[in-house]
């Protein structure tokens, strides 16, 4: 039994070669693709747990590939890029990536991020509130789905975990660091921009008016808070 199926998408053969070797040695099943287009074809036919996606590729490029993959699958996506400004990170996360790693990176750092991407918050056993009803939405904690007016809204695993964690701790301001470590893992804590992007995406998906959120509230200087609907 492998630790997971990983698709490496990079136009640079040496990077594909070294990642294939190192990740396979860690017990992952590794596949690779040379372009975003090839990656989309591979993802259409097979299931992967993590996609390592280079941002700068010929053809459609990493960002467009990320959006396409995200539109069709809830696989975890980690962007690989040479730039490390906040703007670049936000762009990558906005395109639907779960995480971001700057080239050149070491194998331990990459492994940590892959583990974080594979992490899923455990569903509380025997919890009473398995389905949370918001105004027009139903969040099914066990099935990890959100329904809006009978239609299913797709949440990425990290979006779902973030929402889940906030719902599990209602009316409590949760600091950035705590949220990051709960959802991504113990190696995280500084990446406030991750939360900003993911909370914005969640608001677009579950808030009736994303510009004036009612459930997912910002606690200035602290973090975020879930306000359940008054019943």
């Amino acid at each position: 039994m492998s630790n997971g199926r990983i698709l490496v998408v990079d136009d640079e053969p040496q990077i594909r070669r070294v990642l294939r070797t190192t990740l396979a040695a860690q017990g992952y099943e590794v596949f690779d693709a040379r372009t975003g287009e090839d990656a989309l074809l591979a993802i259409r036919d097979q299931r992967f747990d993590v996609v390592l996606l280079d941002m700068n590729m010929p053809g459609m490029g990493g960002l467009a590939a990320c959006r396409e993959i995200r539109a069709g699958a809830d696989v975890a996506i980690i962007m690989l890029t040479v730039k490390n400004t906040e703007h670049d990170k936000v762009t990558a996360l906005d395109a639907g990536a779960d995480d971001y790693i700057t080239k050149p990176f070491g194998v331990p750092e990459l492994s940590a991020r892959i583990r974080a991407a594979l992490r899923r918050l455990p569903v509380p056993q025997g919890s009473d509130a398995e389905v949370i009803r918001l105004d027009g939405e139903e969040v099914d904690l066990r099935a990890r789905r959100v329904h809006r007016a009978g239609k299913e809204t797709r949440l990425t695993p990290k979006e779902f975990d973030l929402l889940h964690y906030l719902i599990a701790n209602p009316r409590t301001p949760i600091p950035h660091t705590k949220l990051l470590q709960a959802v991504w893992g113990p190696d995280y804590g500084d990446q406030v921009e991750y939360l900003r992007v993911f909370v914005n995406q969640l608001r677009k998906k579950i808030e009736p008016d994303p510009a004036h959120p009612r459930y997912l509230l910002t606690e200035p200087w602290v973090g975020y808070r879930f306000e359940p609907p008054a019943s």
Binding site: Q26, F105, G106, V107, P108
Partner: protein, 484 residues
């Protein structure tokens, strides 16, 4: 249009009129016998025809001649200038009056037609000129092209244009225009139209928005004042357009060169980092995947990894510096407290000596800075302090408010920086001879740190720490100010 007394057209008109009157008289006295009214009407026709072609003066003359013939040959008693019947007096004067009034009216219509034709011609000429000026090619000076266009369109023998701002004279052709330059200069000085009869030269000042920008001289040109003004305006616009275009071209060239530079930088960064990524992943892979192998193996892989990091940092810093030099970096200021800034920077050294820093601040003030860039600047100095002091020594990071600015001080207990190197350590690629071989570095970090601080309107320098060692001081203004 001046009325010279004996223009050829007048003579022709007079001959035609008098001939016409004589012809009609001869016809009706010698060949046909008709009544006086018929003759009168035919004579009137001759007068009108004269008026339309030759003007009022000639037709007035012809009117009198016709009246005399009418009287002499057709009104009784025929053959004499006397008139028997008073009724015929009335007829005679009615004839004269009608001839004069009709002459006058048709002459006026003729003049208006001529004027309209002239205006139309001038409008066409101005249109042709504006078209020519709009369509000028950039290969030849636009002044020369304008001068040639004016000479051709307004049938002037030679045209010369002075562009005062550049001090250039543009001529329509090879014609001898020696000495004209001084005429143009004179008109620019005087500010109004001058005519130099000796050369048949008219010179007008060219102005735009009330400001004189040059002069135009034309030889043998016949255009109305209104048309001249329009022509001058066109030339003014043409000259000004050249200047605007040149400025735009320069700006565009500068922009393209910047764009090229930054594209090149991105490409270089990408080209270097790609193989570095493979090397680093391979080296760290060696270390982590086979921990059973120790000693030499681990040591060698560690060296590859460290040197990869150094190369990678060099590329990052070189690109960052080039971006700052090229003015490509824009500050995104946000309020952040000095403590947050220092703590945040120290946090980035987690696992690499963060525990050696002691942060102490005595100010609550918020700095209005680009957090990312300022952290980058502080990182360089903190990294420097770590590298140049004893491995277990403490490094103090302080923030003190002094009036309108905040000083961030990073004090280490290392050997300090000798007086003579205190300026030079901030220069690009400068590395001190004594430490060059012992401490890894790129020689760019402090330069970047100072450039970033200066972009914020502050400064960075080094002095002696209170105990020993070096103290790097950032001066950051509390209110946002541009770079000096």
């Amino acid at each position: 249009m001046s009325d010279l007394p004996w223009k050829p057209s007048y003579l022709r008109g007079a001959l035609f009129g008098v001939g016409g009157v004589a012809g009609v008289t001869a016809l009706f006295t010698q060949v046909l016998a008709v009544n006086a009214s018929t003759v009168g009407f035919l004579l009137l026709t001759v007068v009108l025809a004269t008026a339309t072609t030759a003007g009022f003066r000639v037709s007035a003359l012809v009117s009198v001649a016709a009246m005399l013939c009418f009287n002499f040959f057709f009104l009784p008693p025929v053959g004499r200038f006397t008139i028997a019947d008073p009724e015929n007096w009335v007829a005679l004067f009615t004839f004269l009056l009608t001839a004069l009034v009709a002459s006058h009216l048709s002459d006026r219509a003729r003049k208006q037609t001529i004027e309209a034709k002239r205006r139309q011609l001038e409008t066409e000429q101005l249109y042709a000129l504006s078209r020519a000026i709009l369509l000028t090619e950039s290969s030849r000076p636009i002044g020369t092209q304008a001068a040639q266009n004016i000479a051709q369109i307004f049938s002037s023998r030679a045209v010369i244009i002075l562009d005062s701002k550049s001090g250039q004279y543009f001529q329509s052709g090879e014609q001898a225009t020696t000495g004209w330059e001084s005429r143009l200069d004179e008109v620019v000085r005087l500010g109004n139209h001058q005519r130099y009869t000796a050369e048949d030269l008219d010179v007008w000042p060219i102005s735009l928005g009330g400001k004189p920008i040059g002069a135009l001289g034309a030889m043998g040109i016949a255009v109305s004042d209104g048309a001249v003004q329009s022509m001058l305006n066109l030339v003014a616009i043409a000259l000004e357009r050249v200047r605007t275009e040149e400025a735009a071209n320069r700006a565009e060239a500068a922009r393209q060169s910047e764009e090229f530079k930054s594209t090149l930088l991105d490409a270089i960064a990408h080209e270097f980092k790609t193989p570095l990524t493979s090397i680093k992943a391979a080296a760290t892979g060696l270390r982590t995947l086979d921990p059973a192998r120790t000693g030499d193996h681990q040591e060698l892989a560690a060296i590859i990894e460290e040197e990869t990091d150094r190369l990678s940092q060099l590329v990052t810093e070189a690109v960052k510096m080039a971006e700052i030099d090229a003015g490509k970096v824009r500050l995104q200021r946000e309020p952040v407290s000095a403590e947050m800034l220092l703590m945040g920077t120290v946090d980035t050294f987690e696992g690499r000596g963060a525990e050696r820093f002691r942060v102490s601040t005595t100010t609550e003030a918020n700095l209005l800075v680009d957090r990312e860039l300022m952290t980058l600047a502080l990182r360089q100095v903190l990294d420097n302090a770590l590298k140049y002091s004893e491995p277990d020594s403490v490094i103090a990071c302080k923030a003190v408010e002094t009036g309108e600015e905040v000083q961030l001080r990073v004090e280490d207990e290392g050997p300090g920086v000798p007086e003579r190197d205190r300026q030079r350590i901030f220069e690009k690629f400068f590395r001190r001879a004594s430490t060059r071989d012992q401490v890894p570095g790129t020689g760019l970090g402090l330069h970047i740190a100072r450039e970033i601080t200066r972009m914020h309107g502050g400064d960075l320098w080094v002095e002696s720490a209170t105990s020993q060692g070096a103290a790097f001081c950032f001066r950051v203004p509390l209110r946002a100010r541009g770079p000096k």
